[in-house]
Subunit: 352 residues, 2 copies
């Protein structure tokens, strides 16, 4: 259970404060609203069957500021931030540089190429007021709260606001282009179901692929087990050391998890990130996505939390290149079984 | 027209020398054969409907050697290289660390996940004996020869050896993980048609998407025109400054180009790379792919040469992150029309 406070920001953006404790601090001065930018829009890629999103205003977004100018730290007298409070547990707010918006979007038509307003919503999720923290360092209860917040946002955006697909994710590490170091994730709510999510959802209508995977998982791929969830390297991993977390029971998304499933996943999440960080003795750059059922697929989808790491060796990054991006075929240097064995050899509690 | 010499390397790998002049040099000592490694294999990703390739031996591949130890430079008395000749025009040889092989591959079956030998062929294409060259610096006739070599390899691998899909490509720039600086590309021949190539091919069976795009291309997106080909930013570009080249006539692949089409594309190719290099005054990291018809789609496919650049601003790289890799939706900061205007403002002959 969590408490929840809604706060209106300059320019009408919403700030949501989630916590175990009620939040009743007085707001401080806030960063001024961004001048209105050209609205983002979508164009249809006729060869790949996918929308491409154009958002010119994002080019000017904040880029690797000093820690002393971090816009995600709690505000104080000397500095304005995105979150105009002296403290918080988890804060969610609408992105200042959104790629998807509520607006209509003025769109220049081009012969033969479908266009559309980029309807949707982009949120930033700040996991902690502590600039130096991260998913591997957060206490168990904060990780559980984060999973509950993901659930609350999926429910609000998919079931209440009516978006077709909601993707909570975290990009971590300057190596993969993260522009703010303060520990945070994001949530994108789409008005359409992206091709990739649709394929994964349809595959599970045809056969219970993830249910079966969890039931029949080879021991060699299992990383950690908790009462109600497990973590593993999928046998079809596309990235070296790719790590998935899933509840044992088929649950369509974080909005439908029981308390014990949330706690099991929270334990596994901290441990998975610490295994990845421990693997080469330095923070692992990764992309974490929470794969929840698109609207209409709640009865067959099995949620997963998927971590795609980008370091393949202590001083080598995994890059996607011609074969991955030109053909869509992923080349992996480390077999899933080897990856699981190496991750299991890391002590996830060392140095805690 | 080109001449062609076949040379057997230690361990049975093939080296092919293409040139305008007959190649009759005596071979020097060659790098010894690699000890046999575990064969690569494929596993089916049941959610995404795509094969994933596992090739453990690639983890040990040569990584950013000094120029003095470059394995792609012509061999000389003091150093062994991949190409055991004192000079060459364009050299093609089988990759020492292949992700796809002719072998059967011992494959451990896993319940519920299809597996297969990774049948195919991986070739390295060295564009020039000059370590410091690149597509933007090569003379026109060498670029034309390169396009002819791509055509010869597509013909040999798809039409004669019977592979389903052949992808010539170049990964350029240490920023995107290139492990050897000497100017070179690669060719992958697949025994199956990857999902992404299949979608693009099927889309063109249903409607002449690329033909129409070229016929109706807005002037604002056109970069350069030659007698038989043109270069442009596609209206559905997924990367900032993405650049496509295509013959005006519908040609299914580089194997079917006329001499004048080859020359037009060669002119456009050098110019496109110089525009990208000139944009921020430094070499542009990019992925270039030659999209040729998969086997069976020769009657409807329109070939393109596609360059995906990875610098979005003078000191900022474009990274793919949660939304691109987790949902498959590309976010682009620069509109195709702005990208084309900025590329057109670069003088592609400056400093030549």
């Amino acid at each position: 259970m969590f408490t929840f406070r809604r706060h209106a920001m300059p320019g009408g953006r919403e700030l949501l404060l989630y916590g175990r404790q009620p939040h009743d601090m007085q707001p401080l001065a806030a960063l001024p609203a961004e001048p209105p930018a050209s609205a983002p829009y979508l164009r249809w890629h006729p060869l790949l069957g996918e929308w491409v999103a154009y958002a010119g205003a994002r080019q000017g977004r904040t880029f690797l500021p000093d820690a002393s100018a971090c816009p995600l730290c709690p505000a104080d007298a000397g500095r304005l931030g995105e979150i105009p409070f002296a403290d918080f547990e988890i804060a969610v707010f609408e992105n200042r540089f959104p790629a998807l918006t509520a607006g209509e979007g003025g769109v220049a038509p081009i012969d033969g190429i479908s266009v559309s307003a980029a309807k949707g919503r982009c949120e930033v999720v700040v996991f902690s007021a502590d600039h130096g923290s991260g998913l591997g360092a957060l206490p168990l209860d904060r990780l559980a709260l984060l999973i509950e917040v993901w659930g609350a946002r999926v429910k609000a955006l998919r079931d209440e606001a009516g978006f077709a697909f909601v993707l909570p994710f975290e990009n971590r590490g300057e190596e993969i282009g993260v522009t703010l170091h303060h520990p945070h994730g994001q949530i994108y709510a789409f008005s359409f179901v992206p091709q990739r999510a649709l394929m994964a959802a349809k595959a599970q209508v045809e056969a219970p692929v993830v249910v079966r995977l969890i039931d029949e998982l080879p021991r060699a791929l299992l990383l950690d087990e908790e009462e109600a969830a497990l973590s593993f390297v999928p046998p079809f991993a596309m990235y070296p050391f790719e790590t998935w977390l899933a509840p044992r029971r088929r649950v369509a998304g974080p909005d439908a998890l029981s308390a014990i499933e949330t706690e099991s996943l929270a334990r596994l999440l901290g441990r998975a990130v610490r295994r990845l960080d421990g693997l080469f003795g330095r923070p692992m750059p990764y992309i974490l996505t929470v794969q929840a059922a698109p609207r209409g697929f709640e009865d067959s989808f099995h949620m997963t939390i998927e971590i795609r790491p980008f370091r393949r060796d202590s001083n080598k990054l995994k890059f996607l290149a011609g074969v991955e991006l030109g053909a869509g075929v992923f080349l992996v240097d480390v077999s899933p079984e080897q990856a699981a064995a190496r991750l299991k050899a890391v002590d996830p509690e060392a140095g805690r």
